[in-house]
Amino acid sequence: MLDKKQVNHIAKLARIKLSERELKKFQKEFSAILDFFGLLKEIDTSKIFPTFHPLEHYLENKAEMIREDIPEPEDPKVKEKLIESAPSKEGKHIKVKAVF
């Protein structure tokens, strides 16, 4: 069973502000869901590798999945639209509040 403090901590990590009512509701629900997830404990997976891409072996050249981190020029119109979509901007820049 998760306690309120734990749920509050998770909410903080997830960057979501919770009301007192939500906190109570999620505490109850999370405990039930995590109990259900606990079912996996009964399987021995000590010798099993994890699967991250289900069909990795179909990628002929695995290097295809990774490329050099070289910036490629984006269509300037797309750039404009991306900045245009931000709720707060100044000129060619997205505006944010002070970090501290």
Binding site: F26, L39, L40, H53, I66, K81, A98
Partner: protein, 475 residues
Amino acid sequence: MELSQLTITKVHQGLLQKKFSALELVKAYLDKINKDEKKISAFLTITEELAIEEAKKIDDLIAKNKEISILAGIPLAIKDNIMVEPVKITCASKIFGGYKAPYDATCIKKLKGLGAVILGKTNLDEFAMGASTEYSGFFPTKNPYDLRRVPGGSSGGSAAAVAANLCLASLGSDTGGSIRQPASFCGVVGLKPTYGAVSRYGLVAFASSLDQIGPITKTVEDAKIIFEAISGKDEMDSTSVDFKISPFGRSPEGRENLRIGVPREYFVKGMDKEVEKVIKQAIKKIEAQGANIEEINLPHTKYVIPTYYLVAMSEASANLARYDGIKYGLSRSGGKDLLSVYLKSRAEGFGNEVKRRIMLGTYVLSAGYYDAYYLKAQKVRTLIKQDFDRAFKKVDVIFSPVSPFPAFKLGEKTVDPLLMYLTDIFTASINLAGLPAVSIPVGWVGKLPVGLQIIGKPFEENRILEIGKTYEKNE
């Protein structure tokens, strides 16, 4: 023009023979939307002007005797988590505010290039997280066969729109059953392609190792046409795979040598008896045509739901971190600093189910829990995948129900999040294993349609579609 009778091929012939124009066709669909959308609520946005403009272009080409593609003038609806430039995208979430898609998803670029006409963007569970479309941040969609029931989800708007003839075909996305289950509930064909067959570029990411875009259509041939148009390697999606599309025969492949596996674990308690009867009849039908039916075992089935939700929630919590009140529409500020913008925007912008999944995903990825939950789930995922690998050594395809029950009533499963999660029991394993699967309408429980799931080996989409033809009226 009888919209319910139209297929892609019929429209193509109709346009070439000048039985109707692309504009007349689009207007017929827009009229139908005007008439019936109020009761179905399938659409979040209707792109009437864009559709008319595109249809006129196709009519111009036809008038000039220019060659047109099979998809030219075909009126489609697109799930609203796929970007269509310059149309507003919502993902059925308030967090997008009035965000407009700055570019086309790769699949949309391909469809537009072929002259397809986009009628609008369809409703979904917020960020595709749900199985009924009731978790939409705006309104629920209704099942066209019974307005008191859900159309399934999360691609409920896309499936309901096809079933109600509000479009000829649509695109959905499938992370744990989100194309197949609504297709089953609405009596249409829904294909979840092999992981990597269709580029995910421009699809709003939910769980990146599970998500796939696919078609929802009235016939298997339509599904095949759209699948071939949108699939292929894309340099913008490093997980997309270069593969050869298997041929799709006009005449059914010989059923005599076909080996069909039926998982023992999928016919257990909790399944609606009437649904079970319909699926068993469908299996008998193909057996009568000469196919060999073999019982198979998928022993890790009972671990599918916890494994799937652990993977999906973890990936969602990372993918949804980008909605911070800075880059997308909705932004709220509770104080002076940046953190307050994050906390407040996300609190207001996300609905309950999305919050639930982000927080649980955050928890299971957090220090001290990663190995016990996320890594454990990815290991069990290997075991679930191996179940299928073993089965496919013995059989060519696997038959199963799509859902243990037909469309349920609105409000029936929103009371407890776990109840909704359990609806994915027969579909989520396919995403974990990355396999292709299609839902084919094969019968009825009362007035509610029931879908058969045909699961194939990787990249054998055309084979499962072709087998699905067994259940079409004219076969």
